[in-house]
């Protein structure tokens, strides 16, 4: 493959990198007054990149830079969702940014850079490329978490995220170096060859465990979840919305590739690790969220729980399992964006409110928002016939197929327990006496996002579950 070919296949990433730098320069010259235009330009940039990804996807596998990056149906599926989620995140934030006097042009540029890191992550087919992608993403996210630099909570969130993130990077690197030491390779395919002949090698498994720990931090799977609630709560709400959606998807996609491609022969070694992470995450998510009174914190625990469910599919370790992870994450991203759009609409005179009690009687004061939120919450709880049910359905199916019936049963029970706290929000909205109404004129775009994603999850559109599942299975098959 010539260098021109390589760059051609890499064009979405190059576009984002070049575009982000160009926008940065433009921003420096034009100042903060240009923030809105730069936002719009970033959205356009992300959409063009998205279209390029779709156009480049021919279902075949392209190995770039000597196999360090891989473009296939799997990466295209994940990239499409990441770019869409990033574009919507910028779209959702502009009102908030304006009203909180955060109107600085770096904001959309940082999201674009984070998206670039995520694209590299899902294509990474080499330990070094993996680390590069993760760090590109994380550095942008650290700054975003602390973006409201005059707020102590936001700064604290950024710092916490940075310190703990650096720790997880250490674990990741330590694991990678052990794996390199025992296999003599950084490329996933080469690692696979070497791992196949030394299945019982403790050093290799040790490295694998560290790698898993580092990645578990990125997807905020328990017991590596401690940073999540604080960062979610402290970061500005649109940033939290972004954190909860695209990076989780990218990290989960990377997680699957980093286990399935290099270590297919020692699936028995990593399956218990993933199953433990799944069990721990579901449990923490289900029980800790019950006592939360801040909705952003609740969403943090909810996302921990959701990662647990998605990991069930990964624990299966089969093509169907990875496919179910993709289905789960796709539905999760839509639900999360919708839920945060609703949360962003929770504002009264004097700014945002984040207390769950403020939603009291929302069905009386704002029936449209309440209806959308209700659908999203039932979907998050996984109650049929919403889309959230199908996410759980397919991961449980993958688990049953891989003879992990106990894990499926455990997940099912946890989904009932976690249904409680979603129901609590619903009952506060429906059954309680109304609290003062939220401001109405805020962000029509936000309303559209909330409604759009609620509509996507609405049972009428269940017809589209079929195509989503076959696309995800197709993508997952590329890994095997």
């Amino acid at each position: 493959m010539t260098i021109a070919d390589t760059l051609f296949w890499l064009s979405p990433e190059l576009m984002l990198a070049g575009g982000a730098m160009a926008l940065l320069i433009a921003g420096v010259f034009l100042g903060d007054a240009s923030a809105r235009h730069i936002s719009t330009a970033s959205i356009v940039l992300l959409i063009i990149a998205l279209l390029t990804v779709v156009a480049l996807n021919n279902g075949l596998r392209q190995d770039l830079f000597g196999g360090a990056f891989r473009i296939d149906a799997y990466s295209s599926f994940a990239k499409t969702l990441i770019l869409a989620a990033a574009a919507i995140a910028i779209l959702m934030s502009d009102r908030f940014i304006a009203s909180e006097q955060l109107g600085r042009f770096e904001y959309p540029v940082l999201i674009v850079l984070a998206a670039l890191g995520m694209l590299l992550m899902v294509s990474a087919n080499d330990l070094i490329a993996l680390y590069m992608g993760v760090e590109t993403q994380s550095l942008a996210l650290y700054i975003l978490a602390a973006f409201n630099r005059d707020s102590r909570r936001s700064t604290e969130a950024g710092l916490k995220y940075f310190v703990l993130g650096a720790l997880s990077s250490c674990m990741l690197l330590y694991g990678a170096s052990l794996i390199y030491g025992f296999t003599g390779a950084t490329n996933f395919a080469a690692i696979a060859e070497s791992a196949a002949v030394q299945r019982e090698n403790v050093g290799l498994v040790f490295g694998l465990a560290f790698l898993v720990a580092g990645l578990a931090f990125k997807v905020s799977a328990a017991p590596f979840h401690m940073w999540t609630p604080d960062v979610y709560e402290g970061a500005p709400t649109p940033v939290t919305a972004f954190f909860a959606a695209a990076p989780k998807l990218a990290a989960m996609a990377l997680f699957a590739r980093a286990l399935v491609t290099p270590f297919p022969e020692i699936v028995d070694q990593w399956r218990p690790l993933i199953a433990i992470l799944a069990v721990a995450s579901m449990t923490v998510g289900a029980f800790s969220a019950i006592v939360q009174s801040n909705i952003k914190r609740l969403m943090a625990y909810s996302s921990i729980g959701h990662m647990g469910f998605a990991l069930i599919g990964l624990a299966a370790g089969t093509a169907n399992g990875v496919g179910s992870v993709l289905v789960y994450m796709a539905i999760y991203v839509v639900m999360t964006i919708g839920a945060f759009a609703c949360i962003l609409l929770m504002r009264r005179r004097g700014g945002m409110t984040e207390a769950i009690e403020d939603l009291s009687g929302l069905t009386r004061t704002n029936p449209g928002l309440a209806f959308a939120f209700t659908v999203l919450l039932f979907s998050l709880a996984g109650v049929p016939p919403t889309a959230g049910f199908f996410g759980k359905f397919f991961v449980f199916q993958a688990a049953v197929e891989a003879d992990l019936v106990w894990l499926a049963i455990f997940g099912a029970v946890m989904s009932v327990i976690s249904a409680y706290y979603y129901l609590r929000i619903i009952w506060i909205m429906w059954f309680n006496e109304p609290a003062p109404a939220f401001e109405r004129e805020v962000g029509a775009r936000l309303g559209m996002t909330a409604f759009g994603s609620a509509a996507l999850l609405f049972p009428v559109l269940l017809i589209f579950i079929g195509p989503l599942v076959s696309a995800a299975r197709n993508a997952a098959a590329a890994l095997f």
Binding site: T363, V383, P384, V400, V405, A412, A419, L423, W427
Partner: protein, 530 residues
Amino acid sequence: MNDLLAESLASQHWLSLLTFLPLVGAAAIALRQAMARRGADGEILAKDQAQIDTVARTVAMLFTVGAFVVSVFVYVAYYDPSFGGYQLVEHIEWLGGGVSYKMGVDGISILFVLLTTFVMPICIAASKTIEKRVPEYMIAFLVMETLILGVFCALDLLVFYLFFEGSLIPMFLIIGVWGSKGVKEFGGVSMPSRVYAAIKFFLYTLLGSVFMLIAILWMWRYAGTTDIHALQQTAFPAGAQKWLWVAFFASFAVKMPMWPVHTWLPDAHVQAPTAGSVVLAAILLKMGGYGFLRFSLPMFPIASADFAPFVYALSIIAIIYTSLVALAQEDMKKLIAYSSVAHMGFVTMGIFTGTSQGIEGGLFQMLSHGFISGALFLCVGVLYDRIHTREIAAYGGLVHRMPFYAFLFLFFTMGNVGLPGVSGFVGEFLTMAGAFKVNSWIAFFAAFGVILSAAYALRLYRQVMYGELTKDKLMAIPDVDAREIVMLGLLMIFALALGVYPKPALDVFAPSVDGLIASFDAALAAAGAH
């Protein structure tokens, strides 16, 4: 639109049309609500709200009656009662991998479809006293009707599950929003008792059902399809049947509800508005019995036979124990709720005998209970609308002021007791006859239920209706009005007709039940041969 309609009529998508018809009504109400005129403060103008309420009531009534008309038409024009297999079958590819959208009815389900469409307009009529948030209320009921009809029509296990679980959502909201007042202390937190009841209802039934979901996944993997008809032909290994049976049992026993997982029912009944109680008692509980007949018996015959003594034991405990509990109740709705649990005990006992009397008796009992318990909850609703309490002690001597009501209430009380001539008798008699064939002791113990039901039902009637009219509040209580007479009268006609001449219903059940028993016995014989 007309093309679409014509096409669906031509290709006989009757069941889908019927199932989703109420949903169209719900969408219409939602649309009208969304177009409401709002004042400067964002509140809907009072005048417009009144108009919307009227529209909602009318649309809900039109669509539920429409669904009833369609269901009767489909039954008369297209359903062949002499054929035991699935009829009016629709099949559309959906998820692939053996999961498709499949609908159809047979002798076991068709009468429940008719029962549903018959009871729903009565529920809407009974909701005339609802004044709070009428459009949402009507939407919830219409959505629920769609989901219930879907449960009885679905011929694909996953589609069934979607409808089965989905029906939790509207019922949850109905109990929670329109439920009665009162505060419940629970775990140191105080919350309105309707909220407690709604949550308990939701989580209890959800927990029961998720095990069924895992079992469904396992069966899908084993058989490669979720088509109910194909699964009924699949012989699952005896060892696996046990687990699958338990998983399905967890779901249906909660729904039914069977002792000891019945405790959500009294709470839900007490808190739900009248129409909610009627739907719950008359239809939602039947999903459990329907599930046993549609899935447990035909798909896991060996396990069903193995577990039958266990089910008998639970049924007899339910019949005797909950009857005794009913005797001690101070709240009218709670009393009827416990009597429902006892009556459902007869159903489970009959179904698991595997005899044609037992199964047909169980089906008949469910049908009859649909009319009678629904009517009893309506009777309580009549009093509640007037006096706003369900305490038995708050009443007495009503017969002096409400003669018509006394007559109707007496009729349904007798139906509940199982007096010959009323449909309740037929069901109880047949289930006990079925049980007697298997083991006379079961029938012996079950017969206590009949005596006890007379005790609690007559006690209720005596304390509420007879005696001196001494309470001040009751002095001016008006008798039932025309609307209430029509609602109760319609139910009375069916309870009486089926009690005097049960053959038409039994004839509809018979072909499908015979087929079910034949394959059940064949599976047991095959298992015995090994």
